[in-house]
Amino acid sequence: MSASELALTLTDAAAALRAGELTSTELVGAALARADALDEQLGVYVTRFDDCALERAEQADADFAAGVDRGPLQGIPIGVKDILAVSEGPTTANSLILDPAWGEGRDAIVVERLKAAGAVITGKLTTMEFAIGLPDPEKPFPFPRNPWNTDTWPGGSSSGTGAGVAAGLFLAGIGTDTGGSIRIPAAFCGVSGLMPTFGRVPNAGCAPLGYSLDHIGPLARSARDCGAMLGAFAGPDPRDPYAVDLPVPDFLAGLAGDGSLAGLRIGVDRANTLGGEHDDPATAAVFDAAVAQLSALGATVVELTIPHYAEVVAALMITMVSEAFAYHREDMRERWGDYCAATRSFVGAGALFSGADYVQAQRVRRVAQRALAETFADVDLIATPTAAQVSPSYDELKDRGTRGVMQSIHTSYWDAVGNPALVVPMGFNAGGLPLSLQLAARPFEEALLVRAGDAYQRTTDWHLRIPPLGLAEPLGAEPLGAEPLGLRPRVPSEELAQRARSSSAAIASA
């Protein structure tokens, strides 16, 4: 494997590094070169740490040469969402509001652990402001775009992480998920993403959105890669009062077998997740094929209905905006105009709920947890489409609004109940945009998710497909995955900037 043929998966790259086929310096250099070529179009990075990254890559190579092996992340280029503190640079949360002194010179716990595992952090990645809302062209932050079609939204709020993994700017990245912000960009960008159980990963050093809902987790090409990432940074820490004091299993231990899912029972909920007005016509059939594949792998598939679905989705929204508003109220009073337009709309809505409404939402979350535990007494996993639609264009976002689009997205239930959920690519719509399968498990059973996702990905290759990067180019002209990463001609920056301004201004005015 040459440096110009950047490995697709973290797992492959880790093997190549250990086989002496590739050095971390070459790997990181290739990733940075790809960012040089593509990031102006994609808006992935807020800040790059090229010099530090190359120094850490050299250190990783020296460690390999000395026989020091810190695990599968050693020497691997990894990006971090810009709401986690990284000592090499500022944390902005893509906001003019966050005090630059917050987190200055410090690492979030997750970042500390990534560094201890030998990971090479290449930079800080685009997010929606404080992990909510939409990009705002009036603010001085990169405008994220989806490498499958740069007229479309890469999903949020971990936009840069999803787009960057898909386009090969790094092999894995850190996202956060409060209502779907790991799984939505993973789905829309055609990669894998894992939201761990609430409390599995300590949040200290991450700017909050919803204190009782925030989950830090990985995005990467494959479920196996996500398991490798999670193994490096899961586990309790006294600096996070929400972190759960449980031992961390080896999330890759279950992958040594033959990939059979015999003995597993998987519940499928179509009633709550399919049949909406804005469903992509391909979603139901692609989802059926994914479920058939799980069945072919030996799983027993049963139909079910996720309990209290609508109520929990409402409880999530009330909880999220109330918790966010508590954090932001004073700044919103004084600096309303410094917030992005969509943030003002979402977080400002936290003023419209009472304390009793908030508590009632927490009572409903408990009701749902009890009911869901009964459901999980009968099944091991629950499968749904991650979203019933593909990545919307920025024009569609303008027309339907974020809340309209969210009606077709089925992630937020799992944030509210705290169970872990894995998403993996499951196919494409007629326009060549990715569709995604979501699997949820009992609390702290991330290893089972990784095992099921890995089994699925051993027999499918959707997660290995490569996005074309031309603006709005049709994808049907060439076989998907036929093209090496990042070799499309670049769009003139002036044209890109103009397109960003026009589409984003329309959204902001909606």
Binding site: R106, A314, R329, G348, R363, V364
Partner: protein, 69 residues
């Protein structure tokens, strides 16, 4: 009448919170309130929640270490 009440409620809550949105933003928040209100009422209507304790945890003696300490 209901619309007038909702408008008054939203204006009062925004005022109490000290927020001063532009007219178009106030209109958005009004729409959002109308959108969310049935969902909020549905939470109170859930029979199973009648005697349920909220998913809140308070520890009298928390084990806290400040991040960065």
């Amino acid at each position: 009448m209901a619309l007038t009440n909702e408008t008054a409620a939203v204006d009062a809550m925004l005022d109490a919170a000290g927020l001063s949105p532009a007219p178009a933003e106030r209109e958005q928040l009004l729409q959002m309130y109308a959108l969310f209100k049935p969902g909020v009422e549905a939470l109170y209507a859930l029979p199973e929640a009648r005697y349920e304790a909220p998913a809140l945890v308070f520890q009298a003696e928390p084990k806290l270490t400040a991040w960065g300490a």
